[in-house]
């Protein structure tokens, strides 16, 4: 029993018999049983409609499972009080598939959001955000607003926003879908660096080329179930 608790604590994410259904429809995710150890790097692959985004939504606490139990950083989210969830979310960086940038904010302010939400000083914001934007090749667009950026640029802003707070867990939903291979590899290198610094990384992608070039385990999701992990 004690050993089991220790293992749960060592896992950043643990799914126990998790399923998701919307309304009275069929279960789109079924009996998910897996764990992501701290410091691991996983690709989440599978055909379109397999439920990759839904699985990520469960992890970043955008929705609750219909049944089963999800532990995030050792905390059972099904029994966690609502006021505890923001602190858990702040430990998770998310690159949304549709970016979800705030159009009325500049690139700098979009990337700075997690820092400001965490209560960082403006001095830290001015210090860290331009550095990161420079790293992702957007130094010249620091004051630009998302509607004026290309799809690839938006994606890089979204990635910068997800990693700026040095999250313990990084979830990326198709993070390289709108960028060319060289930028995709550069972004993967950024994820790799973060992983080496201790961040647990999950990248949902269709990009087989990317997956094969990086030697990391896969979670393969098909018809709502994990087929390989």
């Amino acid at each position: 029993m004690a050993r089991q608790h220790a293992a749960e604590r060592a896992n950043v994410v643990q799914f126990d018999g998790v399923a998701v259904r919307y309304g009275r429809g069929p279960e789109i995710l079924q009996d998910l049983q897996f764990a992501l150890p701290a410091g691991s790097f996983h690709f989440l692959t599978g055909p379109s409609g397999a439920g990759k985004s839904s699985l990520l939504r469960l992890i970043y606490l955008a929705q609750r499972p219909s049944r089963g139990r999800i532990l995030l950083f050792g905390r059972d989210t099904s029994v966690a009080r609502r006021y505890e969830l923001p602190a858990l979310r702040r430990r998770v960086g998310v690159v949304f598939q549709d970016f979800r940038l705030l159009d009325h904010l500049s690139t700098l302010d979009n990337v700075a959001l997690p820092l400001r939400i965490a209560g960082a000083s403006e001095q830290d914001v001015r210090k860290f955000v331009p550095d990161l934007l420079n790293w992702v090749g957007l130094a010249d667009h620091i004051d630009a607003h998302p509607p004026t950026l290309s799809g690839g640029q938006k994606q890089r802003v979204a990635i910068a926003r997800a990693v700026i707070g040095r999250p313990d867990l990084l979830l990326a939903d198709e993070p390289t879908g709108n960028v060319d291979d060289s930028i995709a590899m550069r972004l993967m290198y950024l994820f790799d660096e973060l992983n080496k610094l201790g961040t647990t990384v999950v990248v949902a992608t269709h990009n087989e080329n990317l997956v094969s070039r990086m030697d990391y385990p896969r979670l393969v999701l098909e018809r709502g179930r994990i087929m390989r992990g």
Binding site: L61, Q63, P86, A87, R89, V92, L102, D109, I117
Partner: protein, 298 residues
């Protein structure tokens, strides 16, 4: 955070633009009602001070020829003064002169010489000692029995009725202020709900990247405080001419029963703090509305 950086595009949003123009009339009405309460309170106080510690004894003119009537009435007056001055608790009793009586009646009967020849009743102005303590019922009976035509007029009877009426009006005005506060609150509540619906996507992003409810609510509350204060100032600007107008109107009355219709210091403080109260109310309401809406999210 007022006027500072906000993650939500609230300043561009038309849902908040009309809020000051809804708060302004609310503050105007509250200020007028509140000023009314304070003015009425001061007025009641002044009536109370003027009348407390005094009584009037009226002695009907004795029948008979003018000279004889005057002589007999004078005798009754002296007799009444004797009774009054020997009553414990009465400091002084004096009869109003013929000239004073004529002056009192002049607004109704004019000031012709004929008035001086009419058999006017005598009026005694009675001053009570500091804490009163006179049994007025007993005194009235004694006067009526000993002095023909004498009656005691205790101003308290009608004054109390007036004070009760005034107090009722005061409470009504306070209820109006509370009601206006509730309506203002409801307005801000629904405006915040609309703004949240408009900015739902932004709120969701902030929520998912770890913003606590207080962080989001704080931004809405700051905006509501700013708009509420702006509306409050507009309402106050509308109110001030009204209050000054009442004061000027009072001066033209040249004293009398409505001698003191100016707003006392406490009233000025209450009226001038209304924009702050409106801002505070708007902020707290917006915060509550956001908390309530966010509680429906995971």
């Amino acid at each position: 955070m007022i006027g500072g950086r906000s993650d939500l595009p609230l300043s561009d949003d038309s849902t908040g633009a009309y809020l000051p123009w809804l708060v302004a009339p609310m503050v105007f009405l509250s200020a007028v009602a509140l000023a009314g309460v304070f003015i009425l309170n001061t007025l009641i106080g002044s009536w109370d001070r003027d009348v407390a510690g005094t009584l009037t004894v009226e002695i009907a003119a004795a029948p008979g020829e003018a000279a004889e009537s005057a002589e007999r009435t004078r005798g009754r007056v002296e007799q009444a003064i004797g009774i009054l001055e020997n009553t414990p608790g009465i400091a002084r009793a004096r009869a109003l002169s013929q000239e004073q009586l004529v002056t009192l009646l002049a607004p109704w009967l004019g000031s012709s010489d004929l008035l001086k020849e009419l058999p006017l009743p005598a009026l005694l102005d009675v001053t009570l000692e500091g804490n009163g303590g006179v049994n007025l019922v007993e005194l009235a009976a004694k006067l009526a029995k000993s002095v023909p035509g004498a009656s005691l007029d205790d101003h308290r009877v009608w004054l109390n009725r007036l004070i009760y009426l005034s107090r009722a009006i005061e409470w009504l005005a306070i209820a109006v202020v509370v009601l206006i506060g509730a309506v203002t609150s409801a307005t801000v509540y629904f405006a915040t709900g609309t703004a949240m619906a408009v900015h739902r996507e932004v709120i969701e992003v902030l929520h998912l990247i770890g913003a606590a409810d207080g962080y989001i609510a704080g931004q809405f509350a700051s905006r509501a405080v700013f708009l509420g204060f702006k509306g409050g100032l507009i309402g106050l600007c509308l109110t001030l001419p009204v209050i000054f107008g009442i004061a000027v109107g009072t001066d033209r009355l040249e004293g009398g029963f409505l001698s003191d219709l100016s707003l006392p210091l406490g009233g000025w403080i209450a009226v001038l703090t209304l924009p702050l109260i409106a801002a505070l109310l708007a902020g707290l309401t917006a915060r509550a509305a956001v908390y309530r809406t966010l509680a429906k999210m995971l």
